[in-house]
Structures are given as structure tokens and as C-alpha cells.
Amino acid sequence: MAAIQFTNVSKRYDSGQEALKSVDFTLESGEMAFLTGHSGAGKSTLLKLLTRVEQPSRGEVWVGDQNLSELSRSEIPHYRRTLGVVYQNHRLLEDRTVYQNIALPLRIAGFNEEDIGRRVRAALDRVGLLESEQKFPQALSSGEQQRIGIARAIVHKPRVLIADEPTGNLDPRLSLDIMNLFEQFNRIGTTVLIATHDVALIKRMRHRVLILDKGRLRHVQ
């Protein structure tokens, strides 16, 4: 079954900017792919369509068996809980500890405190920052913050993992570690889509690559 399917999707912002033009592609369930392209090519826009932050001007976006355009407002939260999203600028809450940040998706989904503790620590362990549990994001280097952001995205074991330049702030070795982490998730069945500039990394990883060029999907390797 297709996990993610774009059919003839275009996105034009209110400002008139055409960020995506007739994008067509399918990602099978359990597949892992990279999304790349020059700055301003429309990578973040494509991911925003997937998280239902933006809606396509034309075409349809399907995730699993759901047409995102047909989600009612009250269904959006439940849909979003099936995703894990890593943001470019990590979007951690400065006034909460690392633990509280990672616990947030679990709190929202209504897990009990005991479960939460176990899962948060497991996620922290995955990104190698178990000892930073009680620190605040400001006291971490940007690479460490990025890894906390990844821990938050995976803590509820989502079906689909989306990442917008997750390694932009990381050194090459750490980047590779993080990518390996994503691959591990992929191996247990999570569909993974990663937007990145890191061409060297993409080449090494040998997964499908979607290349955007001025809003058009030019090339699918």
C-alpha cells in the first residue's frame, strides 16, 4: 500500500509565489526517501502539505488511506499524532526541560506518567543524550538541541517520520549517526521522508531521492 501519494499537487501561496508545480510521486509503506533541491525549491512546502499545515491549491495528497484535503478540522489532531516531525530549527520549548519537551506528544495523546517516563528515556537513549534529561534547551549546543528534536519526533513511534533538514546543524559524523537512526526506524516499518541539502550523505545512503527544482519534481532516482 502507498504510504504517501501526491497526485498532480500544486501549491501557490497567497503572495502569488508558486512553490510547487504539478508534483506527482508515491512512497510505499515502509519506504525511505530523500527530498532535495536548491534553496527555495519547495521542500519545506511539500512537507507542510504532509503535516496539513498548508493545503494544496490543486491535486491531492494521500497519507495511508486518508485524503488530507478531506480531513475535518477535528480529525487533524488525530492524523498528526500518526506522524513524527523533525523541524529545521528544532522548535523546542525554551521554558521546559528536555524531558518535558520530549514528553509533550505523549501527554497530548494521553499516556499515563509511568509510560511517559519509560518512553522518554528510551527515546533519549536512542539519540545519546540520556544525561541531559533535566537540562533546558538553551544549555545545549545546537547539535544537541537538534537531537532532542529528533527524540521528540520518535517518542510516540509514529507510522510516518518526516524531517526537514535534520542534519543542517550537525557535524558529518553525527549526521551519519542520525541518518542511521532514521534507517533503523525505517527497518521496523516506519515510512521516512527527509528533506536535506547534504548531497554527500544522500549518495552514501542509497535510498530513493526526490529532486525538486523551482517547484517541479525533476528527477526521481
Binding site: V53, P77, Y79, L104, A109, H156, R159, G189
Partner: protein, 325 residues
């Protein structure tokens, strides 16, 4: 690996039973309200200022209404019935007075008749009036005997007609009605209470605005948190709840504080006001807000708080749902 079990749970709690959802909901509410209190306590200055403001704003109409209650003391209560006073000719002798008052008792347009002899009248005059001392200077009692009558028909127009017919009686020198004074006092109390009402309305609007504004700043100071939560899958209700709780708490505690403020100001005003009224009107006891006013204040405050928060949350959330990334 427990991933398949958690996935269904984390992914959609649509599948859990209604009972579990209810339990989850109540637990959530308990956590949330505790959280709301914690946050209010954490941001102490801001909470204090808001509560103080609410207290001041709510205290003004409450204070007004309390004073109004006291003013109503001045108008005789429901057991008071307007009287007709007949000042009798000073030439009448005691027996004549007696006969006349008895004849009045037979009339069926009067409910009760009371004769006050000139001696009794003089004593009353001495004890009540500022000019009492003057009476002691007078050689003889200049006061006439008076008959106080309560009419069956209490409507002012009929009473005025009755007054005229009474005045025409030979034994009666002057006939007076005290409804006019009463009418005037009632007009005054009435206009004070409509002022208080307008004021209460205006200041309720202010309370609404204060709370809406406070919640608005709360929301905008937690904007990032809200945006992230929504992106992570929080429902609108989940995001709104702590703010609605906060509004409710603000309203309730603001009202409570305003009550303290009212008692405090009444205590301050009591002594000089008592002296002042004694000087002009005679003794009267300053009374605090009554139970129904207290209840109205507390419930009104709480409801206003909730509504204010609701308005703020609706406006801000609308913006967040559309514009953010």
C-alpha cells in the same frame, strides 16, 4: 518490541472505549486545573496585578449596591403604609377629640385610626427634633392633637382625594399625606439603583476586557508552545482548556478579593458615615452586602472570567489555525 501495541494507542485513541475516554477526560481535567493554578502562582506579579484589578473593578459596583441596600433602609419597608395626618383644631376639648376619632373609626375607607394628644405630640417633638429644646422655652403647649389614619386604599390618587375631603371637616385644621415624601425617596433610590445597574454593566464589560486581555497575553507568551502542540497533534480543546481554567480562576478569585475590598472599605467608611447620618438623618446601621449580592458577585465573576477567556482563546486560536507554519 512493543511498537505495534503503542502505535494504535498513540496513533488514534478513537478505538478506546467510551468509559476509558471519560476516565482519561476527568484525569486530564484534574491535571489541567492543577496546572493552571500552578502557572498562576508561578507568574506571581502578573497574577496579583490582574486579580487586584478585577477586585477593584468588581468592588465598585458591589460597594454601590451595598450602599444602595443601606439607602433602602431609609425608606420604610413593606410593612410601612403611608399615613394620613389630621392636625385637629386646638379649640377642641378632650371629649370632642375622642368622639371625633371614634367617628373616624366607623368609616370604611380608613383601616386604622390613632389619636395623638397634644401632650404626647410635644414629648415626641422634644425627643426627635433639633428644635426640641425650644419647646422647653414655651409657656404653653402650642401643638395641636393629631390623628394618624391608615387608608384602605393605598394608591396615591385616591389618598389625595381623601385628604381633601378630610381637610373639609370642621374638626380638622390641616390634613397631610406622607406619600409625597415616600414617592420622592423612592424615585431617588430608583435612580441610584439604575445608576448602579449601568455601572455594574459597564464594569462587567471592563472585567470581561481585563480577563480577555490577560488571557490574550498569556496565550501570546505561550504561542510557541501552542503552535508546537498543535503541530504534534493536540486538539483545539486541549490547547484551550488551561486558558479557560485560568479565566475562570481569575474571575472567581478576583470576585473573592473584591468582596474583601468591599468589607474593608465599608469598615473604613462606617464611623464617619454613622456620624454624618446621625447629624442629618438619625441613627442607622451600615450593613455589608447581603448573601444574594455575594453569590451574584462570585458567580458573576467566575462566569465573566470564563467568557472573557473564551473570547480571547477563540480570537487567538482562530489566528493560529490559519496563519502559522
Amino acid at each position: 518490541m512493543s511498537s505495534s501495541e503503542t502505535r494504535t494507542r498513540g496513533a488514534s485513541d478513537l478505538s478506546v472505549s467510551r468509559w476509558q475516554r471519560l476516565k482519561h477526560w476527568t484525569v486530564q481535567h484534574r491535571l489541567e486545573s492543577a496546572d493552571a493554578v500552578k502557572r498562576l502562582l508561578h507568574n506571581r506579579l502578573s497574577t496579583l496585578v490582574t486579580m487586584l484589578l478585577l477586585a477593584v473593578v468588581l468592588a465598585v459596583p458591589t460597594f454601590m449596591y451595598s450602599l444602595l441596600g443601606n439607602l433602602k433602609q431609609l425608606t420604610p419597608g413593606t410593612d410601612f403604609e403611608p399615613q394620613l395626618a389630621l392636625y385637629l383644631s386646638t379649640e377642641l376639648k378632650a371629649e370632642e377629640l375622642d368622639r371625633f376619632s371614634r367617628s373616624l373609626l366607623l368609616r370604611d375607607d380608613l383601616l386604622s385610626v390613632e389619636l395623638i394628644s397634644s401632650d404626647v405630640g410635644a414629648n415626641e417633638f422634644k425627643s426627635h427634633s433639633e428644635l426640641g429644646e425650644l419647646m422647653t422655652l414655651l409657656d404653653e403647649n402650642p401643638l395641636p392633637a393629631v390623628v394618624l389614619a391608615i387608608t384602605r386604599d393605598q394608591d396615591p390618587a385616591t389618598m389625595k382625594l381623601l385628604r381633601e375631603s378630610m381637610a373639609a371637616l370642621p374638626e380638622v385644621d390641616v390634613a397631610e399625606l406622607d406619600v409625597e415624601w415616600l414617592e420622592r425617596l423612592e424615585v431617588i433610590v430608583g435612580s441610584f439603583s439604575s445608576i448602579s445597574f449601568v455601572l455594574a454593566l459597564l464594569l462587567s464589560m471592563t472585567v470581561l476586557l481585563v480577563i480577555a486581555n490577560t488571557i490574550r497575553t498569556m496565550i501570546s507568551s505561550r504561542q510557541e508552545e501552542i503552535e508546537v502542540s498543535l503541530l504534534i497533534g493536540a486538539t483545539g480543546a486541549w490547547v484551550r482548556r488551561p486558558f479557560l481554567y485560568a479565566g475562570l480562576l481569575y474571575g472567581f478569585f478576583g470576585a473573592l478579593l473584591s468582596l474583601l475590598l468591599v468589607y474593608f472599605s465599608l469598615a473604613l467608611v462606617e464611623a464617619p458615615l454613622a456620624e454624618l447620618t446621625e447629624l442629618y438623618i438619625g441613627r442607622f446601621d451600615l450593613q455589608g452586602p447581603d448573601l444574594s449580592l455575594i453569590m451574584a458577585l462570585l458567580m458573576g465573576g467566575t462566569i465573566l472570567g470564563w467568557i472573557g477567556a473564551f473570547i480571547a482563546v477563540s480570537r487567538q486560536m482562530g489566528q493560529l489555525h490559519q496563519g502559522s507554519d
